[in-house]
Amino acid sequence: MKRTFDIVLLLTGGLVAWELLHLAVPFALTSPAGTAAKAWSMLTSAQFWPHAAETGKAFVYALLLAILGGLAIGLGLGLNRTGAEVAEPILVSIYSLPKVTLYPLILLIFGLGLPAKIAFGTIHGIIPIAIFAMNAVRNLANVHFKTARVLRLSRRQTLLTVVIPGALPEIVSGLRIGFSLTLLGVLIGEMFASQRGLGFLIMNAIGLHDVPTIMATILLLAVVAVSASAILLWLDHRLHHRVA
Protein backbone atom coordinates (compact mmCIF):
# COMPACT_ATOMS: atom_id res chain seq x y z
CA MET A 1 0.00 0.00 0.00
CA LYS A 2 2.78 2.36 1.04
CA ARG A 3 4.67 1.28 -2.06
CA THR A 4 1.74 2.08 -4.37
CA PHE A 5 1.60 5.53 -2.75
CA ASP A 6 5.33 6.00 -3.37
CA ILE A 7 4.96 4.99 -7.02
CA VAL A 8 2.13 7.51 -7.46
CA LEU A 9 4.31 10.14 -5.77
CA LEU A 10 7.20 9.35 -8.12
CA LEU A 11 4.93 9.52 -11.18
CA THR A 12 3.57 12.88 -9.99
CA GLY A 13 7.13 14.16 -9.56
CA GLY A 14 7.95 12.98 -13.08
CA LEU A 15 4.89 14.77 -14.50
CA VAL A 16 5.81 18.01 -12.69
CA ALA A 17 9.38 17.81 -14.05
CA TRP A 18 7.98 17.15 -17.55
CA GLU A 19 5.63 20.17 -17.27
CA LEU A 20 8.52 22.40 -16.07
CA LEU A 21 10.72 21.22 -18.97
CA HIS A 22 7.81 21.99 -21.31
CA LEU A 23 7.55 25.52 -19.89
CA ALA A 24 11.32 25.98 -20.35
CA VAL A 25 11.45 24.76 -24.00
CA PRO A 26 7.82 24.82 -25.21
CA PHE A 27 8.55 24.11 -28.89
CA ALA A 28 10.68 21.00 -28.22
CA LEU A 29 8.35 19.28 -25.80
CA THR A 30 4.56 18.99 -25.55
CA SER A 31 3.04 19.34 -22.08
CA PRO A 32 1.77 16.18 -20.31
CA ALA A 33 -1.86 17.21 -20.82
CA GLY A 34 -1.25 18.07 -24.48
CA THR A 35 0.48 14.72 -25.06
CA ALA A 36 -2.34 12.77 -23.42
CA ALA A 37 -4.94 14.63 -25.51
CA LYS A 38 -2.96 13.94 -28.70
CA ALA A 39 -2.53 10.27 -27.72
CA TRP A 40 -6.29 9.98 -27.18
CA SER A 41 -7.08 11.55 -30.55
CA MET A 42 -4.59 9.17 -32.19
CA LEU A 43 -6.23 6.18 -30.50
CA THR A 44 -9.63 7.21 -31.86
CA SER A 45 -8.36 8.00 -35.38
CA ALA A 46 -8.52 5.52 -38.23
CA GLN A 47 -4.96 6.13 -39.49
CA PHE A 48 -3.27 5.02 -36.28
CA TRP A 49 -4.46 1.42 -36.02
CA PRO A 50 -2.92 -0.05 -39.22
CA HIS A 51 0.49 1.22 -38.02
CA ALA A 52 -0.06 -0.19 -34.53
CA ALA A 53 -1.20 -3.52 -36.01
CA GLU A 54 1.90 -3.68 -38.23
CA THR A 55 4.23 -3.10 -35.28
CA GLY A 56 2.23 -5.49 -33.10
CA LYS A 57 2.36 -8.23 -35.72
CA ALA A 58 6.12 -7.87 -36.27
CA PHE A 59 6.68 -7.80 -32.50
CA VAL A 60 4.59 -10.91 -31.74
CA TYR A 61 6.28 -12.97 -34.46
CA ALA A 62 9.74 -11.73 -33.44
CA LEU A 63 9.11 -12.47 -29.77
CA LEU A 64 7.79 -15.98 -30.52
CA LEU A 65 10.84 -16.76 -32.65
CA ALA A 66 13.18 -15.28 -30.03
CA ILE A 67 11.59 -17.35 -27.24
CA LEU A 68 11.55 -20.62 -29.19
CA GLY A 69 15.04 -20.13 -30.61
CA GLY A 70 16.49 -18.79 -27.37
CA LEU A 71 15.10 -21.67 -25.31
CA ALA A 72 16.28 -24.25 -27.85
CA ILE A 73 19.82 -22.80 -27.86
CA GLY A 74 19.92 -22.15 -24.12
CA LEU A 75 18.51 -25.50 -22.94
CA GLY A 76 20.52 -27.44 -25.51
CA LEU A 77 23.81 -25.81 -24.52
CA GLY A 78 22.97 -25.83 -20.81
CA LEU A 79 22.58 -29.61 -20.81
CA ASN A 80 25.99 -30.03 -22.42
CA ARG A 81 28.80 -28.81 -20.14
CA THR A 82 31.44 -28.50 -22.87
CA GLY A 83 29.01 -26.86 -25.25
CA ALA A 84 28.09 -24.22 -22.67
CA GLU A 85 31.71 -23.41 -21.86
CA VAL A 86 32.59 -23.12 -25.54
CA ALA A 87 29.55 -20.99 -26.37
CA GLU A 88 29.31 -18.60 -23.41
CA PRO A 89 31.93 -15.98 -24.39
CA ILE A 90 30.72 -16.16 -28.00
CA LEU A 91 27.10 -15.51 -26.93
CA VAL A 92 28.15 -12.69 -24.59
CA SER A 93 30.15 -10.94 -27.31
CA ILE A 94 27.26 -11.29 -29.77
CA TYR A 95 25.00 -9.82 -27.07
CA SER A 96 27.16 -6.71 -26.76
CA LEU A 97 27.51 -6.05 -30.50
CA PRO A 98 25.66 -2.99 -31.76
CA LYS A 99 23.20 -4.97 -33.85
CA VAL A 100 22.16 -1.91 -35.85
CA THR A 101 25.34 -2.45 -37.82
CA LEU A 102 23.90 -5.80 -38.96
CA TYR A 103 20.63 -4.26 -40.18
CA PRO A 104 21.84 -3.70 -43.77
CA LEU A 105 22.73 -7.40 -43.97
CA ILE A 106 19.22 -8.34 -42.83
CA LEU A 107 17.65 -5.94 -45.31
CA LEU A 108 19.73 -7.44 -48.11
CA ILE A 109 18.67 -10.98 -47.12
CA PHE A 110 14.98 -10.39 -46.44
CA GLY A 111 14.23 -7.30 -48.50
CA LEU A 112 12.17 -4.36 -47.23
CA GLY A 113 9.06 -5.25 -45.26
CA LEU A 114 7.71 -7.36 -42.44
CA PRO A 115 10.23 -10.30 -42.56
CA ALA A 116 13.20 -7.94 -42.11
CA LYS A 117 11.59 -6.30 -39.04
CA ILE A 118 10.79 -9.71 -37.55
CA ALA A 119 14.35 -10.94 -38.15
CA PHE A 120 15.82 -7.77 -36.65
CA GLY A 121 13.60 -7.98 -33.55
CA THR A 122 14.46 -11.67 -33.17
CA ILE A 123 18.25 -11.18 -33.21
CA HIS A 124 17.86 -8.61 -30.43
CA GLY A 125 15.76 -10.86 -28.20
CA ILE A 126 17.15 -14.34 -28.84
CA ILE A 127 20.61 -13.93 -27.23
CA PRO A 128 19.60 -12.77 -23.71
CA ILE A 129 16.91 -15.49 -23.54
CA ALA A 130 19.51 -18.09 -24.57
CA ILE A 131 22.14 -16.83 -22.08
CA PHE A 132 19.71 -16.82 -19.14
CA ALA A 133 18.27 -20.26 -19.98
CA MET A 134 21.74 -21.74 -20.44
CA ASN A 135 23.04 -20.45 -17.11
CA ALA A 136 19.86 -21.53 -15.33
CA VAL A 137 20.27 -25.12 -16.53
CA ARG A 138 24.00 -25.13 -15.69
CA ASN A 139 23.25 -23.99 -12.15
CA LEU A 140 20.58 -26.62 -11.49
CA ALA A 141 21.59 -28.83 -8.54
CA ASN A 142 23.09 -32.08 -9.73
CA VAL A 143 20.81 -34.02 -7.35
CA HIS A 144 17.88 -33.18 -9.65
CA PHE A 145 19.55 -34.90 -12.58
CA LYS A 146 20.50 -37.87 -10.39
CA THR A 147 16.89 -38.21 -9.23
CA ALA A 148 15.72 -38.13 -12.84
CA ARG A 149 18.17 -40.94 -13.65
CA VAL A 150 17.06 -42.99 -10.63
CA LEU A 151 13.43 -42.61 -11.71
CA ARG A 152 14.49 -43.69 -15.22
CA LEU A 153 12.92 -40.66 -16.86
CA SER A 154 13.37 -40.44 -20.61
CA ARG A 155 15.22 -37.38 -22.06
CA ARG A 156 11.89 -35.78 -22.96
CA GLN A 157 10.45 -36.40 -19.48
CA THR A 158 13.62 -35.05 -17.84
CA LEU A 159 13.40 -31.91 -19.94
CA LEU A 160 9.70 -31.30 -19.30
CA THR A 161 9.44 -32.28 -15.63
CA VAL A 162 12.90 -31.46 -14.22
CA VAL A 163 14.92 -29.04 -16.36
CA ILE A 164 12.28 -26.53 -17.48
CA PRO A 165 10.46 -26.21 -14.11
CA GLY A 166 13.79 -25.92 -12.29
CA ALA A 167 15.11 -23.25 -14.62
CA LEU A 168 11.78 -21.39 -14.93
CA PRO A 169 12.54 -18.40 -12.65
CA GLU A 170 15.73 -17.57 -14.56
CA ILE A 171 13.99 -18.21 -17.88
CA VAL A 172 11.38 -15.58 -16.95
CA SER A 173 14.15 -13.10 -16.04
CA GLY A 174 15.63 -13.70 -19.49
CA LEU A 175 12.19 -13.31 -21.10
CA ARG A 176 11.79 -9.91 -19.45
CA ILE A 177 15.02 -8.63 -21.01
CA GLY A 178 14.25 -10.39 -24.29
CA PHE A 179 10.82 -8.74 -24.38
CA SER A 180 12.27 -5.22 -24.02
CA LEU A 181 15.06 -5.77 -26.53
CA THR A 182 12.78 -7.38 -29.12
CA LEU A 183 10.47 -4.35 -28.97
CA LEU A 184 13.46 -2.03 -29.28
CA GLY A 185 14.74 -4.05 -32.26
CA VAL A 186 11.41 -3.94 -34.08
CA LEU A 187 11.09 -0.17 -33.50
CA ILE A 188 14.66 0.58 -34.66
CA GLY A 189 13.97 -1.61 -37.70
CA GLU A 190 10.91 0.47 -38.47
CA MET A 191 12.73 3.77 -37.95
CA PHE A 192 15.24 2.88 -40.66
CA ALA A 193 13.93 1.91 -44.10
CA SER A 194 10.25 1.23 -43.46
CA GLN A 195 6.95 2.66 -44.67
CA ARG A 196 4.64 1.33 -41.96
CA GLY A 197 4.52 0.86 -38.21
CA LEU A 198 4.94 3.01 -35.10
CA GLY A 199 8.68 3.45 -35.69
CA PHE A 200 7.90 4.87 -39.13
CA LEU A 201 5.26 7.14 -37.56
CA ILE A 202 7.91 8.54 -35.19
CA MET A 203 10.50 8.97 -37.98
CA ASN A 204 7.94 10.67 -40.19
CA ALA A 205 6.94 13.00 -37.35
CA ILE A 206 10.64 13.80 -36.70
CA GLY A 207 10.99 14.73 -40.37
CA LEU A 208 7.90 17.00 -40.20
CA HIS A 209 8.95 18.30 -36.78
CA ASP A 210 5.53 17.24 -35.49
CA VAL A 211 6.43 17.15 -31.78
CA PRO A 212 2.96 16.23 -30.40
CA THR A 213 2.81 13.08 -32.57
CA ILE A 214 6.35 12.02 -31.51
CA MET A 215 5.55 12.48 -27.84
CA ALA A 216 2.14 10.82 -28.04
CA THR A 217 3.55 7.77 -29.87
CA ILE A 218 6.34 7.42 -27.30
CA LEU A 219 3.80 7.79 -24.48
CA LEU A 220 1.60 5.01 -25.89
CA LEU A 221 4.62 2.74 -26.44
CA ALA A 222 5.91 3.49 -22.95
CA VAL A 223 2.57 2.64 -21.35
CA VAL A 224 2.42 -0.70 -23.19
CA ALA A 225 6.09 -1.54 -22.53
CA VAL A 226 6.04 -0.57 -18.85
CA SER A 227 2.80 -2.48 -18.14
CA ALA A 228 4.02 -5.63 -19.88
CA SER A 229 7.33 -5.34 -18.09
CA ALA A 230 5.60 -4.83 -14.72
CA ILE A 231 3.56 -8.03 -15.22
CA LEU A 232 6.71 -10.01 -16.11
CA LEU A 233 8.55 -8.45 -13.13
CA TRP A 234 5.74 -9.53 -10.79
CA LEU A 235 5.86 -13.07 -12.24
CA ASP A 236 9.64 -13.04 -11.91
CA HIS A 237 9.52 -12.12 -8.19
CA ARG A 238 6.83 -14.68 -7.47
CA LEU A 239 8.73 -17.51 -9.15
CA HIS A 240 12.02 -16.61 -7.46
CA HIS A 241 10.37 -16.48 -4.04
CA ARG A 242 8.50 -19.73 -4.55
CA VAL A 243 11.80 -21.51 -5.13
CA ALA A 244 13.67 -19.75 -2.32
Binding site: D6, I7, L9, A28, S93, L97, L221
Partner: protein, 249 residues
Protein backbone atom coordinates in the same frame (compact mmCIF):
# COMPACT_ATOMS: atom_id res chain seq x y z
CA UNK B 1 45.74 -23.57 -25.26
CA UNK B 2 43.02 -25.38 -23.31
CA UNK B 3 40.69 -27.82 -24.99
CA UNK B 4 37.74 -25.42 -24.52
CA UNK B 5 39.67 -22.54 -26.06
CA UNK B 6 40.68 -24.75 -28.97
CA UNK B 7 37.08 -25.86 -29.57
CA UNK B 8 35.91 -22.24 -29.47
CA UNK B 9 38.53 -21.19 -32.02
CA UNK B 10 37.61 -24.19 -34.14
CA UNK B 11 33.92 -23.22 -34.25
CA UNK B 12 34.50 -19.52 -34.95
CA UNK B 13 37.11 -20.27 -37.65
CA UNK B 14 34.86 -22.98 -39.11
CA UNK B 15 31.94 -20.53 -39.31
CA UNK B 16 34.04 -17.88 -41.08
CA UNK B 17 35.47 -20.45 -43.51
CA UNK B 18 31.97 -21.79 -44.26
CA UNK B 19 30.73 -18.26 -45.07
CA UNK B 20 33.84 -17.70 -47.19
CA UNK B 21 33.21 -20.94 -49.11
CA UNK B 22 29.52 -20.12 -49.67
CA UNK B 23 30.43 -16.68 -51.01
CA UNK B 24 33.24 -17.96 -53.24
CA UNK B 25 31.09 -20.67 -54.82
CA UNK B 26 28.32 -18.16 -55.53
CA UNK B 27 25.79 -19.80 -53.17
CA UNK B 28 25.52 -16.38 -51.48
CA UNK B 29 25.27 -13.57 -54.00
CA UNK B 30 27.80 -10.72 -53.59
CA UNK B 31 24.83 -8.36 -53.64
CA UNK B 32 23.82 -9.86 -50.25
CA UNK B 33 27.13 -10.63 -48.58
CA UNK B 34 30.71 -10.28 -49.73
CA UNK B 35 33.33 -12.87 -48.72
CA UNK B 36 34.99 -12.26 -45.31
CA UNK B 37 38.45 -12.10 -46.94
CA UNK B 38 37.16 -9.36 -49.27
CA UNK B 39 35.81 -7.46 -46.27
CA UNK B 40 39.24 -7.60 -44.61
CA UNK B 41 40.97 -6.45 -47.81
CA UNK B 42 38.51 -3.57 -48.23
CA UNK B 43 38.91 -2.60 -44.59
CA UNK B 44 42.72 -2.60 -44.87
CA UNK B 45 42.44 -0.43 -47.97
CA UNK B 46 39.96 1.92 -46.28
CA UNK B 47 42.17 2.32 -43.21
CA UNK B 48 45.33 2.81 -45.32
CA UNK B 49 43.66 5.44 -47.50
CA UNK B 50 42.58 7.35 -44.37
CA UNK B 51 39.11 8.03 -45.80
CA UNK B 52 37.28 6.69 -42.77
CA UNK B 53 39.64 8.10 -40.11
CA UNK B 54 37.59 11.20 -39.32
CA UNK B 55 34.38 9.17 -38.90
CA UNK B 56 36.12 6.56 -36.77
CA UNK B 57 37.66 9.21 -34.51
CA UNK B 58 34.34 10.97 -34.11
CA UNK B 59 32.42 7.82 -33.22
CA UNK B 60 35.07 6.59 -30.77
CA UNK B 61 35.18 10.03 -29.14
CA UNK B 62 31.38 10.06 -28.74
CA UNK B 63 31.38 6.53 -27.30
CA UNK B 64 34.19 7.40 -24.87
CA UNK B 65 32.43 10.53 -23.57
CA UNK B 66 29.07 8.73 -23.30
CA UNK B 67 30.77 5.83 -21.47
CA UNK B 68 32.59 8.00 -18.92
CA UNK B 69 29.42 9.99 -18.27
CA UNK B 70 27.21 6.92 -17.90
CA UNK B 71 29.63 5.02 -15.62
CA UNK B 72 30.31 7.94 -13.26
CA UNK B 73 26.75 9.27 -13.45
CA UNK B 74 25.24 5.79 -13.04
CA UNK B 75 27.36 5.10 -9.96
CA UNK B 76 26.46 8.44 -8.36
CA UNK B 77 22.73 8.09 -9.13
CA UNK B 78 22.70 4.43 -8.04
CA UNK B 79 24.43 5.29 -4.75
CA UNK B 80 21.96 8.14 -4.14
CA UNK B 81 18.90 5.96 -4.88
CA UNK B 82 20.23 3.20 -2.65
CA UNK B 83 20.41 5.64 0.27
CA UNK B 84 16.59 6.06 0.13
CA UNK B 85 14.94 2.61 0.35
CA UNK B 86 11.43 4.00 -0.23
CA UNK B 87 12.46 5.79 -3.43
CA UNK B 88 14.29 2.67 -4.49
CA UNK B 89 11.28 0.37 -4.11
CA UNK B 90 9.11 2.81 -6.06
CA UNK B 91 11.64 3.29 -8.88
CA UNK B 92 12.51 -0.41 -9.39
CA UNK B 93 9.75 -1.31 -11.89
CA UNK B 94 10.59 1.77 -13.98
CA UNK B 95 14.28 0.87 -14.11
CA UNK B 96 13.39 -2.70 -15.06
CA UNK B 97 11.29 -1.65 -18.06
CA UNK B 98 13.53 1.25 -19.11
CA UNK B 99 15.18 -0.54 -22.02
CA UNK B 100 11.87 -1.07 -23.79
CA UNK B 101 11.65 2.65 -24.60
CA UNK B 102 12.72 3.93 -28.04
CA UNK B 103 15.07 6.77 -26.98
CA UNK B 104 15.97 7.64 -30.52
CA UNK B 105 12.61 9.31 -30.74
CA UNK B 106 13.83 11.90 -28.21
CA UNK B 107 16.45 13.08 -30.71
CA UNK B 108 14.51 16.25 -31.72
CA UNK B 109 14.29 17.22 -28.05
CA UNK B 110 18.04 16.68 -27.59
CA UNK B 111 18.79 18.82 -30.63
CA UNK B 112 16.93 21.69 -28.98
CA UNK B 113 18.64 21.07 -25.63
CA UNK B 114 22.19 20.34 -26.83
CA UNK B 115 22.33 21.81 -30.32
CA UNK B 116 22.82 20.06 -33.65
CA UNK B 117 25.81 17.70 -33.62
CA UNK B 118 27.69 15.60 -31.12
CA UNK B 119 25.80 16.67 -27.98
CA UNK B 120 22.54 15.01 -28.97
CA UNK B 121 24.28 11.75 -30.01
CA UNK B 122 26.31 11.60 -26.79
CA UNK B 123 23.10 12.20 -24.84
CA UNK B 124 21.51 9.13 -26.46
CA UNK B 125 24.60 7.00 -25.74
CA UNK B 126 24.56 8.24 -22.13
CA UNK B 127 20.83 7.50 -21.69
CA UNK B 128 21.44 4.01 -23.06
CA UNK B 129 24.36 3.21 -20.77
CA UNK B 130 23.47 4.98 -17.54
CA UNK B 131 20.58 2.77 -16.42
CA UNK B 132 22.60 -0.47 -16.77
CA UNK B 133 25.16 1.13 -14.43
CA UNK B 134 22.47 2.32 -11.97
CA UNK B 135 20.97 -1.20 -11.80
CA UNK B 136 24.42 -2.78 -11.32
CA UNK B 137 25.28 -0.26 -8.56
CA UNK B 138 22.02 -1.03 -6.74
CA UNK B 139 22.67 -4.79 -7.04
CA UNK B 140 26.20 -4.39 -5.74
CA UNK B 141 25.19 -2.17 -2.82
CA UNK B 142 22.50 -4.70 -1.84
CA UNK B 143 25.20 -7.30 -1.31
CA UNK B 144 27.60 -5.29 0.84
CA UNK B 145 28.06 -7.09 4.18
CA UNK B 146 26.29 -5.08 6.93
CA UNK B 147 29.43 -5.18 9.08
CA UNK B 148 31.22 -2.93 6.56
CA UNK B 149 28.40 -0.40 6.66
CA UNK B 150 28.59 -0.39 10.47
CA UNK B 151 32.36 0.07 10.29
CA UNK B 152 31.82 3.17 8.15
CA UNK B 153 29.35 4.46 10.76
CA UNK B 154 31.86 3.85 13.58
CA UNK B 155 34.49 5.90 11.75
CA UNK B 156 31.91 8.71 11.31
CA UNK B 157 32.24 8.68 7.54
CA UNK B 158 29.86 10.95 5.63
CA UNK B 159 27.64 9.42 2.90
CA UNK B 160 30.05 10.42 0.10
CA UNK B 161 33.15 9.09 1.90
CA UNK B 162 31.37 5.83 2.78
CA UNK B 163 30.22 5.40 -0.81
CA UNK B 164 33.71 5.95 -2.25
CA UNK B 165 35.91 4.26 0.36
CA UNK B 166 33.77 1.35 1.62
CA UNK B 167 30.91 0.66 -0.77
CA UNK B 168 32.76 1.16 -4.07
CA UNK B 169 35.52 -1.41 -3.39
CA UNK B 170 33.11 -3.85 -1.77
CA UNK B 171 30.63 -3.81 -4.65
CA UNK B 172 33.30 -3.86 -7.38
CA UNK B 173 32.40 -7.23 -9.02
CA UNK B 174 28.85 -5.98 -9.61
CA UNK B 175 30.11 -2.61 -10.79
CA UNK B 176 32.29 -4.39 -13.36
CA UNK B 177 29.17 -6.08 -14.71
CA UNK B 178 27.64 -2.61 -14.99
CA UNK B 179 30.69 -1.20 -16.77
CA UNK B 180 30.66 -4.09 -19.24
CA UNK B 181 26.99 -3.43 -20.02
CA UNK B 182 27.63 0.32 -20.19
CA UNK B 183 30.40 -0.28 -22.78
CA UNK B 184 28.06 -2.38 -24.88
CA UNK B 185 25.14 0.04 -24.54
CA UNK B 186 27.11 3.23 -25.26
CA UNK B 187 28.39 1.64 -28.47
CA UNK B 188 24.85 0.56 -29.37
CA UNK B 189 23.33 3.96 -28.53
CA UNK B 190 25.92 6.07 -30.35
CA UNK B 191 26.13 3.91 -33.47
CA UNK B 192 22.36 3.47 -33.71
CA UNK B 193 21.81 7.22 -33.33
CA UNK B 194 24.38 7.94 -36.03
CA UNK B 195 22.82 5.26 -38.19
CA UNK B 196 19.35 6.74 -38.07
CA UNK B 197 19.91 10.46 -37.97
CA UNK B 198 23.46 11.81 -38.07
CA UNK B 199 25.43 13.27 -40.97
CA UNK B 200 28.86 11.90 -39.96
CA UNK B 201 30.37 9.06 -37.92
CA UNK B 202 30.68 5.31 -38.42
CA UNK B 203 26.95 4.55 -38.16
CA UNK B 204 26.18 7.23 -40.73
CA UNK B 205 28.92 5.94 -43.08
CA UNK B 206 27.47 2.42 -42.94
CA UNK B 207 23.95 3.58 -43.72
CA UNK B 208 25.29 5.93 -46.45
CA UNK B 209 27.14 3.02 -48.08
CA UNK B 210 23.97 0.90 -47.79
CA UNK B 211 21.87 3.55 -49.52
CA UNK B 212 24.44 3.77 -52.34
CA UNK B 213 24.71 -0.01 -52.87
CA UNK B 214 28.40 0.25 -51.89
CA UNK B 215 28.63 -3.20 -50.28
CA UNK B 216 32.44 -3.17 -50.15
CA UNK B 217 32.66 -0.10 -47.88
CA UNK B 218 29.56 -1.13 -45.92
CA UNK B 219 30.87 -4.59 -44.99
CA UNK B 220 34.39 -3.26 -44.34
CA UNK B 221 32.98 -0.79 -41.78
CA UNK B 222 30.67 -3.42 -40.26
CA UNK B 223 33.67 -5.70 -39.84
CA UNK B 224 35.57 -2.82 -38.21
CA UNK B 225 32.78 -2.20 -35.66
CA UNK B 226 32.39 -5.90 -34.84
CA UNK B 227 36.14 -6.47 -34.38
CA UNK B 228 36.51 -3.26 -32.36
CA UNK B 229 33.67 -4.08 -29.93
CA UNK B 230 34.88 -7.67 -29.51
CA UNK B 231 38.47 -6.53 -28.81
CA UNK B 232 37.33 -3.87 -26.29
CA UNK B 233 35.19 -6.47 -24.50
CA UNK B 234 37.98 -9.05 -24.47
CA UNK B 235 40.50 -6.52 -23.07
CA UNK B 236 38.13 -5.46 -20.32
CA UNK B 237 37.29 -9.09 -19.52
CA UNK B 238 40.96 -10.06 -19.09
CA UNK B 239 41.62 -6.90 -17.00
CA UNK B 240 38.68 -7.81 -14.75
CA UNK B 241 39.98 -11.35 -14.35
CA UNK B 242 43.49 -10.16 -13.40
CA UNK B 243 42.08 -7.73 -10.88
CA UNK B 244 39.82 -10.38 -9.34
CA UNK B 245 42.72 -12.82 -9.07
CA UNK B 246 44.92 -10.25 -7.38
CA UNK B 247 42.18 -9.58 -4.85
CA UNK B 248 41.74 -13.30 -4.32
CA UNK B 249 38.09 -13.53 -5.33
Amino acid sequence: MTRIGFLRLFFVAGFILAVEALCRTGAISPRVLIAPSDMAVRLAWLLASGKANADIAETLGNVAIALVLSVSGGFAIGAAIHAFPRLRRAIDPFLASYYALPFFAFYPLFIVLFGLGRGAIIAIGFLFGVVAMIIATLNGFDRIPPVLVRTAAIYHMGPAAAALRIKLPSAIPYLFTGVKLAIAYSFIGVIAAEFIMASSGLGYSISYAFNNFDNGTMYALMLFVIVLVTVVNALFYSYERRLMRRWGR
